[in-house]
């Protein structure tokens, strides 16, 4: 299958890109999720706004203890980065599960978040890290938290004229350990269930992959762990959030694995 015809623009600045966004346009970043959909003709944008030449969106920096990820940062860059490995190991743990190396060469953090597949690894890890999503249009700028950004299956709060420009990740609390666990039928396949865990003396975050239409924080499980419950009990509480019995059991097992690996 080949995509139907479309208009193509390749702006070189954020402002030029923003000026092109409307309800008929779709942003092309890594293309690893969008182009397959276009090849199958499931997505048929009238105009493709290719942001791969917007240098200003490709950066990965730590400033004031906070990690700032430009939307065009490739998965492979996050995977290799020492800054990420030192300060936000969960991102490296998660990104290693994204597709295959070839996918990670092109795929971007911004694209993965804007695509909002609930079985995607980065949105789940970023949800566990309390990331904030910087969104811009020609006329405005706003910042959203994960719950405000990821709305539903393949749906975010991005309006037609908005672009996700940066994902900002606060520093992990002192003494935090992290882990990421998922299950897919074959390596690199779409995951069926998974969990991202952050465990620190006074802070716990557990985010579930594939449990709902968006990444889901397991609040009860987090509270239980902080109150002294063990990983098994917390995992059961997390699994209880999943409707389907089989998937709930799988989620429970993966949460437990992640919590134990993170030293809970």
């Amino acid at each position: 299958m080949k995509p139907p015809p479309f208009g193509y623009e390749a702006p070189r600045s954020v402002d030029a890109a923003l000026a092109l966004l409307d309800e008929d346009a779709k942003v092309l970043a890594g293309g690893q999720s969008l182009v397959p959909m276009m090849n199958f003709r499931l997505a048929r944008p009238a105009t493709l706004v290719d942001i791969n030449r917007v240098d200003a969106l490709a950066y990965l920096r730590r400033r004031g203890g906070v990690l700032r990820i430009g939307a065009l940062t490739r998965h492979a860059t996050v995977e290799r980065s020492d800054v990420v490995a030192r300060g936000w190991p969960l991102l490296r743990q998660a990104v290693r599960h994204v597709g295959h190396p070839q996918i990670r060469t092109r795929g971007t953090i911004g694209g993965s978040c804007a695509h909002a597949d609930p079985t995607a690894e980065l949105p789940v890890a970023l949800t566990a890290l309390d990331a904030r999503f910087h969104v811009r249009s020609s006329a405005s700028a706003r910042v959203l938290d994960a719950a405000g950004f990821f709305l539903s299956y393949l749906e975010t709060a991005l309006r037609d004229d908005e672009l996700l420009v940066e994902v900002e990740v606060p520093a992990l609390p002192a003494g935090a350990r992290t882990a990421f666990a998922e299950h897919a039928r074959t390596h690199g396949d779409w995951a069926i269930a998974g969990a991202a865990a952050v465990v620190a003396p006074e802070h716990v975050a557990i985010a579930l992959l594939g449990a709902a239409a968006t990444p889901l924080r397991a609040g009860d499980a987090e509270a239980a762990l902080l109150a002294g419950a063990g990983p098994a009990e917390a995992a059961r509480l997390a699994g209880a959030l999943v409707g389907d019995e089989w998937r709930a059991a799988l989620t429970t097992a993966l949460v437990r694995r992640a919590l134990e690996e993170a030293g809970a």
Partner: protein, 152 residues
């Protein structure tokens, strides 16, 4: 749209529709049929080429995106002599029908360079982005081990 792409060290200036996939551009536009098309949705890896020296699915890129960039296909691997990885594939029977082979070569060349000490498990993980229906992968893993030894 007019694009200018460096493929295997040679520059090509061509007119393409935006919707032309890079894989189709290489095969039909430039006659470089070494790059194969399997699934056209990024799963099988047969279409893998190198864009600026990094392995990329050419079925998930449009030719217009390669404007001004440097592409390498399997045709560019040998300079008259087989590339060491190609030779290792040959010696270890890592191909039968050969359909998946170009994609494997393009994907594995950087891996062999960067991870010469990889364990078998790590090699198999690196293979996960390329599907082979013929060989059962044993010969490919053996070829990668050989190429890692040959590299230095």
């Amino acid at each position: 749209m007019r694009i200018s792409v460096d493929v295997n060290g040679r520059r090509y200036d061509e007119d393409v529709e935006p919707r032309m996939l890079l894989s189709d551009f290489l095969r039909h536009g430039l006659g470089l049929t070494g790059t194969h098309v399997g699934c056209e949705h990024g799963v099988c890896g047969a279409c893998t080429i190198q864009l600026d020296d990094a392995p990329v699915r050419s079925c998930l890129m449009f030719a217009v995106q390669a404007d001004g960039r440097s592409v390498r296909t399997v045709e560019g691997m040998s300079d008259g002599d087989l590339h060491p990885l190609q030779r290792a594939f040959h010696e270890h029977h890592a191909l039968q029908c050969g359909f998946c082979t170009p994609g494997f070569l393009m994907s594995l060349e950087p891996f062999v360079r960067d991870r010469p000490g990889a364990t078998d498990e790590e090699i198999r993980e690196a293979l996960a982005g390329n599907l082979c229906r013929c060989t059962g992968y044993e010969g490919i893993v053996a070829a990668v081990r050989q190429a890692a030894r040959d590299r230095s």
